[in-house]
């Protein structure tokens, strides 16, 4: 082959490779833009940002009842401790474990309060949204990699590459402008998270506005049976407790008060659940504050405190309850270790 032919062939090859690289880059840019624009900024974005950038002494973990029921400021009044509520609906023990790993990577938490909702221990975590809620907000690091390796790798490719798929277009499209603005300017202003039925606070507490009982939605009750529990939930709860123990972080389990109608609807199931967790935490030597059995008198179960039958407290009641919970913790020196460390 002549030199001119050789160089022409080389030019052709380079051109082809260039076109391929250019095409792939163009595709990647469009896909990144779609993720930026269509993946909404949720309060979990703020929560994860807070715990990975600022020191918080007490972390409150668990499910939606904890998110709407524990206000860290009311809880820790007079203790000199700071706190953040990183509960969320769909937070399973596995998520809590990796959130704790993340917190330990970035700061030095001194105590953990864990909201135990027995219903969450019955089923496996649903594929999709609830994972994305956490994973995509995690900053790059060991915890993010471990979370992917452990829980996400077998989910469909959209989970990793197109997280916006879990949010209906009719809700994400109208928000494009503010989503892009918040993401591109790294804006974590909580005013974006204020809605008509709830308000998110900087300490992670989600304040629900009161709802009349006649407007309560139908309850979602999952009957409890120890033999039908998904084993991975207890496995991760155990891992979380061990992690806290290794780092000398006090761990306190709490079962949030439930409305009386709910408790009366299936008392046997609740009794089985409370017995199971009481036994478990006794074996683990973990303090367990159950506001539906041992501490049932500590807070009212009247429906007027709630926004539904599932046990989500309204804002004022949540602050009141948090104060009571804080007093119990203080009176029993449960946070003394955290205060000493501080």
């Amino acid at each position: 082959m002549h030199n001119s032919e050789k160089s022409a062939a080389k030019r052709k090859r380079t051109g082809r490779a260039g076109r391929t690289i250019l095409s792939l880059t163009a595709v990647a840019v469009v896909l990144i833009f779609l993720n930026l624009a269509l993946y909404p900024c949720t309060f979990m974005r703020n929560d994860v940002h807070t715990i990975s950038t600022e020191q918080r002494d007490v972390l409150i973990m668990g499910t939606s009842c904890g998110k709407m029921g524990i206000d860290p400021d009311s809880l820790l009044t007079g203790t000199g401790l700071s706190g953040h509520n990183i509960c969320v609906g769909g937070e399973y023990p596995a998520d809590a474990y990796y959130l704790m790993e993340l917190a330990l990577e970035k700061q030095d938490p001194k105590a953990v309060i864990y909201d135990i909702d027995p219903g969450y221990f019955m089923g496996k975590k649903e594929v999709g949204n609830n994972y994305l809620l956490f994973y995509h907000e995690f900053p790059a690091g060991k915890a993010k990699l471990a979370y992917f390796q452990d829980l996400l790798k077998d989910h469909d490719f959209r989970t990793l590459f197109f997280p916006y798929y879990e949010y209906p277009l009719q809700t994400s499209l109208p928000r494009i402008k503010s989503t892009l603005y918040q993401r591109l300017t790294a804006n974590y202003d909580v005013s974006y998270l204020k809605g008509q039925i709830q308000e998110y606070h900087e300490n992670g507490f989600l304040e629900k506005y009161p709802v009349a009982q006649e407007n309560f939605p139908a309850p979602v009750h999952v009957p409890f049976a120890a033999e039908r529990m998904a084993p991975e939930n207890m496995e991760y709860l155990g891992k979380l407790i061990r992690l806290c123990r290794e780092k000398d972080i006090p761990f306190i389990a709490v079962s949030m008060p439930l409305p009386q109608t709910t408790l009366q609807a299936d008392p046997e199931s609740f009794e089985r659940a409370w017995t199971y967790f009481s036994d478990y935490f006794r074996d683990q030597q973990i303090p367990y504050l159950n506001f539906n059995r041992e501490l049932t008198q500590a807070y009212s179960h009247r429906e007027e405190h709630y926004v539904d039958y599932d046990g989500h407290l309204n804002g004022d009641s949540a602050r009141e309850f948090s104060g009571i919970l804080g007093s119990i913790l203080k009176n029993n020196n449960m946070l003394s270790g955290a205060a000493e460390k501080n």
Partner: protein
């Protein structure tokens, strides 16, 4: 590692990078390592079965080749024997090794796949409790066993020379895109492609990506949505009696979308590596008869059965004797047809039991076999009837009728696929003709999105099916869709690809990435 999972996407990207970065001579080693890594991700103990099957067929094929070489060397040396006699002698000497290989290879499949079925039936027969053994069913065993058997028989029959490199042969058996659910590959067609160097080719890459995208569309959007509604209908047939007919139609979409989509992804992935796999589908719902359907659906299983079961069976001594007996008893014409009918029934019995060790599948296989056998026997009366009625085979109306008739026959058998009791299937078939209340769809929840989303999800599914139909018609007419796309300007191709990808991502069900139905066989 499902093909639609995040981890597989990452795995594929890494393997592709390594594959095109290493020198051409080493590319097949990358594929072999990737294939075993892929397999071990699913199950480490299962690799032992894969290795066993590979080793047994490799060694027995080598021995057969050695015998053949020695025989031909000996006859070439003294020249005393004619070639045919030498081949016959070599075959006779090699036969025990071929049988040993077959027995060991098939034996593993038979033990792992059929032991519990046999125990269960023996228990029922003798009214005794039989234990259910916890047996491992290695990923893709039905597929790679057929590939290895095909290779062994090809060497025995002299269609191909035995492979000398065990690692290259191991790649042929374990090539990761096709081990999950086929297509069942042939050694002669694959080994050269798998082991020769491949330079990066943009056209191949684009074609591969288009094929993958099309497969993902079928698996996630079509099969995903169809599966949700089909499952709800068959889970509570009484409550959905008004849409029973849609239940089976949705199953057609689900099964075809899942299997052919999975194969599209497989072929597309192989194409990214510069490897062309055999096609497994050719618009099966445009088939004009059941036998035509089987030439269009799971093509590689059909051709495998034809080459390695049907032909040997038809030319076997036993079948010859049966043929002679039939000719004596029923005359020349029918006597010639009856052995073919019998072998069709035997082949489809095997097709049924290959899918799953259950009476459902045996019944389904026999249903297909009996229809094909009956059609062969009735070919002459049909021809005469058509002549009397002045029906031309080439008329469009007749062609359409044949397509519809085949579609109905196929769907009738699929009612039994989706239920545990035959009685339910018969009841649902009855409702399909007597009840029609499409509004019952609105009671079915669209997964996490609830019943509110159901009309939109059905619209999405409907549009998807229309797109599939249009593409199928174009392909049936011989239009090369990817060729047409590749003639467009690159930016236009990118925009079309991105819009299509966006639609798949946004409009597929939220929990769409189930496994492949055919991977369980």
């Amino acid at each position: 590692m499902a093909f639609t999972s995040s981890v597989f996407a990452l795995f594929l990207i890494i393997i592709l990078l390594v594959y095109y970065l290493v020198p051409g001579k080493g590319q097949w080693i990358v594929l072999l390592a990737a294939s075993y890594a892929f397999y071990m991700y699913a199950s480490v103990p299962a690799v032992l079965f894969l290795l066993f099957s590979t080793a047994v067929t490799f060694l027995t094929a080598r021995k057969i080749q050695q015998i053949k070489n020695e025989e031909s060397a000996a006859s070439a040396g003294d020249g005393s024997l004619p070639v045919k006699t030498t081949t016959a002698q070599a075959k006779a000497k090699a036969r025990p090794y071929m049988l040993l290989g077959l027995l060991a290879d098939l034996g593993v499949l038979a033990v792992l796949k059929y032991t519990n079925f046999i125990l269960q039936n023996a228990g029922a027969l003798f009214h005794t409790e039989m234990p259910v053994l916890r047996l491992l069913l290695p990923l893709g065993i039905s597929y790679y066993t057929f590939q290895t058997i095909g290779y062994l028989l090809d060497v025995y029959w002299g269609r191909t020379a035995a492979e000398t490199n065990p690692a290259k042969y191991a790649l042929f058996v374990s090539f990761f895109p096709q081990i999950v659910q086929g297509p069942i590959g042939r050694y002669g067609k694959l080994i050269g492609q798998l082991t020769s160097p491949h330079a990066f080719a943009g056209k191949n890459f684009r074609y591969g990506l288009w094929r993958i995208l099309w497969g993902v569309f079928k698996v996630m959007l079509l099969s995903g949505w169809a599966g949700i509604y089909r499952e709800a209908i068959f889970a509570d047939p009484e409550a959905h009696s008004g849409i029973a007919v849609f239940g089976v139609l949705l199953y057609s979409v689900e099964l075809y979308g899942n299997f052919s989509g999975g194969i599209d992804i497989t072929i597309g992935i192989a194409q990214l590596f510069g490897i062309t796999l055999d096609e497994n589908f050719r618009q099966p719902f445009f088939a004009t008869s059941i036998s035509d359907f089987w030439r269009r659906w799971h093509i590689t299983l059909g051709t495998w059965m034809k080459d390695y079961v049907m032909y040997p069976l038809n030319f076997s001594k036993a079948m010859n004797r049966f043929g002679m007996w039939c000719r004596k008893k029923f005359g020349r014409k029918k006597g010639r047809l009856l052995p073919i009918c019998l072998s069709s029934i035997i082949v489809f019995f095997l097709v049924g039991i290959w899918h799953e060790a259950s009476w459902n599948y045996i019944g389904w296989g026999l249903y297909n076999g009996v229809i094909i056998a009956f059609s062969s026997l009735m070919a002459e009366p049909y021809r005469k009837a058509k002549e009397k009625l002045h029906i031309a085979d080439t008329s469009k109306g007749w062609h359409l009728f044949m397509i519809l008739r085949t579609f109905v026959l196929i769907n009738l058998s699929w009612y039994f696929d989706c239920v545990t009791h035959a009685g339910t299937a018969f009841r649902m078939i009855g409702w399909s003709f007597t009840q029609f209340r499409p509004s019952q769809f609105l009671q079915i929840s669209s997964g996490k999105l609830g019943t509110v989303y159901t009309p939109y999800a059905l619209l999405t599914l409907g549009l998807g099916v229309v797109l599939l139909f249009v593409i199928s018609v174009l392909r049936e007419q011989g239009t090369g869709i990817r060729d047409s796309l590749s003639r467009m300007a690159l930016p236009v191709q990118i925009v079309i690809g991105l819009v299509f990808l966006f639609c798949i991502v946004s409009f597929s069900p939220m929990a769409a990435a189930g496994g492949f139905i055919y991977a369980q066989f």
